[in-house]
Amino acid sequence: LSKKLTFRGGIHPNHCKSLTEHLPTEALEAPPVAVIPLSQHIGAPAKPLVAKGDYVYVGQMIGEPAGKVSAAVHSSVAGTVLSVRPFAHPSGRLVNSVEIENDGTDETVDFEPVGQQWREAASGALVDKILECGIVGMGGAGFPDHTKLSPPASKPIDTLIINGAECEPYLTADDRIMVERMEDILTGVQILKKILNASAVYFGVEDNKKDAVNAVYDRVAGSRFNDISLAVLASKYPQGGEKTLITAITGRKVPSGGLPMDTGCVVQNVGTALAVFEAVVHGIPLYQRVLTVTGTDVLRPKNLLVRIGTPVRLILEACGTNLAAAKKVIMGGPMMGTALSDLDVPVIKTTSGLLALNLTTEAVRKYPCINCGLCVRVCPVKLVPSRMAKFVEKENFDEALSWNLMDCIECGSCTYMCPAKINLVQFFKLGKMKINAARAAAKKAG
């Protein structure tokens, strides 16, 4: 275990992982009613394949991908479809969803695995299986995996990076699956390597996850997985960001406005690798996932295997959450997660955690910006956040663009550090939204 890899900038928030890092994953029973959104990914929502009154089995495809950048959606319970209509979604919008009443039989469709013969299978067949099983990037972005695994011929891929950084405080779901299911993950990694025909594979893990590091270390030493290299990363946020991870491990830099594939790299989350394993070897589509339920107001924090479509409220109750005291319920990590306004929203494919925290964040700035430059110091993209925020605030978007507003990865490091407690990231999200809207309008007009 040589020198720890890292990147420039970043912050060291309190990990808060001790609440759940040693708790084995438990399976939560399927909900009585599952609400499965047809959009759990970046891109076009899936086209519904079922209607009210239809009977569906566990793992049955209920929404098919609509277009190249889209993903299939599967039922997580067996039962009758109650409705297909817009439901509240974690994003805060209403999203067309399939509501299924669970009859408790938990009967599954017949899975059609590629099986252990995946080594002999064609790459195209493997990608088709991944497409069919609705795999998306499970680190949070939810980019359809088959798209990521089919780079254009003009962008040759030589490096596959597995993201086991899990740099968000509180979250331990990736940590747990790495400890509990490393063999399966590494097999998934080899499947991914075969699909991409990558020459180098790096498995990145932050050094604060000792058990996970050892799990990788022990296995890559053997002959079965010796084509995979362990990359021990310094524990620093946002180490698990795609750009920071690529730079830390390979030294390459994703060009401004470009994609990771421009550097010959593809980054896959450990959860995605596990889902790929399940899909290819067992033919099981993505209808459940491991997530961490934790926070100051959760009495029994847990790592849970949960069916997609389970309402957040049920999960929090199962962990004994003091919902009356919790001021904030966050889906995802505390740095980039979304504060929920409605606890009846379902868990989706990208839900890495649920936090119930007894804290609030001031909505307004508390002090004036004193130009201290802490935001500049911590920005992993080397932006000047305070300046960008001032320009967005004054609606001077041209100037904001000239200070590279669009390159912000919204990691929140600047806002975390800001001694004036200015909600910098909020300004950047707002600015990007307005600029994108203006660009779309200009495109429409011209």
Partner: protein
């Protein structure tokens, strides 16, 4: 019995007044943009760290210039806070004195005046610094020049004589400055050990009696300084036109000029002697020379400055490049024939230790509001301050140029920031 009662009272209300919440009653959920956690650092905490970093220099100023240093600092701080408070009331703005920036400004104004300055003048400096240089422009974060330096510039322009009248330090007469005796012996003034010892005894007996019977002792101490750096003192008396006016509460019999005045005069009339000046370096480092309240002890300022750098409150770039630039420019202009003899380093070392350079470099040029935010901008800012300081000290009408250099550089900060936007991660070079 009373104890038990209190305990009972304390134990009861919490559960009784707050019934166990119903299991799943609808909570009020707070919504906000990510991130949902924040670091503990805040503007008042940063200001508090700066205040803590200024304490060694404050302690040194009390040791060197007596209790009057503390009185002036207190008056300046009080005036600064009151000015901000009243300005907010007049402008009907929310009260901002809690951010502690007025306290920092007050201390820095005090550090920039002589210990013999009348209190009302010192207070006026604070009023100008906070009222005109800061509040008029919108308060903290909106001022374009350093308030404390603006206050100093105002005082220098308005009351030039009292602002350049510096009583000599009490040198080792109060316990606290490390090794007062060592300092004396190192300074080759063993013959003066007796009055020094007297002075120590007298001063430790009572600080209040300083103005009375100890005056003689003080004179002898002043003599020891003179004998150690005789040529310095000679030059001093020639260089300072400032009258030995009365009004100094502590010392009214002797006056001393700043070492910078001395070296400037020595360079001007060709009487600079590297060996003689080298003997004053340790005194300069410890601050045992005439000058503004908080500027003389390079040691104390260095301790505070390193603390601020370690606490990540200030960026090392500004003080480092500032001091380095001054050092290099005076080294290239060192008054001796060679560049690589020990003597050639005397003048530059003298220049970085003397005057307000350490105070300015660590505590004023680093004022975040009035310095660049970009890393390269901070380097340019430091170098610019250094060049201007050299030019003023070498060619200007004043022996000291730190405050004006920083004020001038403050004015070009927006320009520096604009020209030094950092190359971002993965930036594609455009033709």
């Amino acid at each position: 019995m009373a104890d038990t009662e209190i305990k009972e009272n304390a134990a009861q209300p919490a559960p009784a007044n707050r019934p166990a919440p119903k299991a799943f009653e609808a909570p009020t959920l707070h919504l906000s943009s990510s991130p949902h956690i924040r670091a503990g650092v805040s503007v008042p905490k940063i200001m508090l760290l700066v205040i803590i970093a200024l304490l060694p220099a404050l302690a040194a100023s009390v040791v060197l210039f007596g209790v009057q240093a503390l009185v002036i600092t207190a008056v300046c701080v009080l005036a600064a806070i009151l000015t901000e408070c009243i300005a907010n009331l007049l402008l009907k703005r929310p009260q901002t004195i809690g951010d502690l920036s007025a306290v920092v400004t007050g201390i820095l104004v005090a550090f920039n005046v002589s210990s013999s300055l009348p209190l009302w003048m010192a207070a006026l400096g604070s009023v100008f610094a906070v009222g005109i240089a800061k509040m008029v422009f919108g308060g903290l974060g909106c001022n374009f020049i350093n308030p404390a330096l603006a206050g100093r510039a105002f005082l220098v322009a308005s009351y030039p004589a009292p602002m350049t009248h510096f009583p000599p330090p009490l040198m080792g007469t109060v316990n606290g400055l490390p090794d007062g005796a060592t300092l004396a012996s190192l300074s080759d003034v063993t013959q003066a050990a007796a009055p020094l010892a007297e002075g120590v005894t007298a001063a430790t007996q009572t600080v209040d009696s300083l103005a009375g019977g100890v005056t003689d002792t003080l004179s002898s101490i002043a003599d020891t300084v003179s004998s150690a750096v005789s040529s310095v003192t000679e030059a001093v008396s020639a260089a300072t036109s400032t009258a030995v006016s009365s009004g100094g509460a502590v010392v009214d019999a002797v006056s001393s000029a700043t070492p910078l005045g001395a070296i400037k005069y020595a360079f001007a009339n060709g009487s600079f002697n590297a060996i003689e000046y080298s003997q004053a370096l340790l005194q300069l480092f410890l601050g045992d020379v005439g000058g503004c309240l908080g500027e003389t002890s390079a040691l104390a300022l260095l301790v505070g400055g390193i603390f601020l750098i370690a606490a990540r409150v200030i960026d090392i770039r500004i003080p480092l490049f500032y001091i380095l630039t001054v050092f290099c420019l005076f080294w290239l202009n060192n008054g001796t024939a060679s560049f690589f003899t020990p003597e050639s380093f005397v003048a530059p070392t003298f220049h970085i230790l003397a005057g307000g350079l350490f105070l300015g470099a660590f505590f004023m040029a680093t004022d975040p509001v009035t310095s660049p935010i970009t890393p390269n901008g901070r380097i340019i800012f430091g170098i610019g301050c250094g060049v201007l300081t050299f030019v003023i000290r070498k060619y200007g009408g004043y022996p000291e140029g730190v405050s004006f250099s920083i004020l001038l550089m403050n004015l070009v900060v927006p320009l520096i920031d604009r020209c030094t936007r950092p190359a971002i991660y993965g930036e594609v070079k455009r033709g």
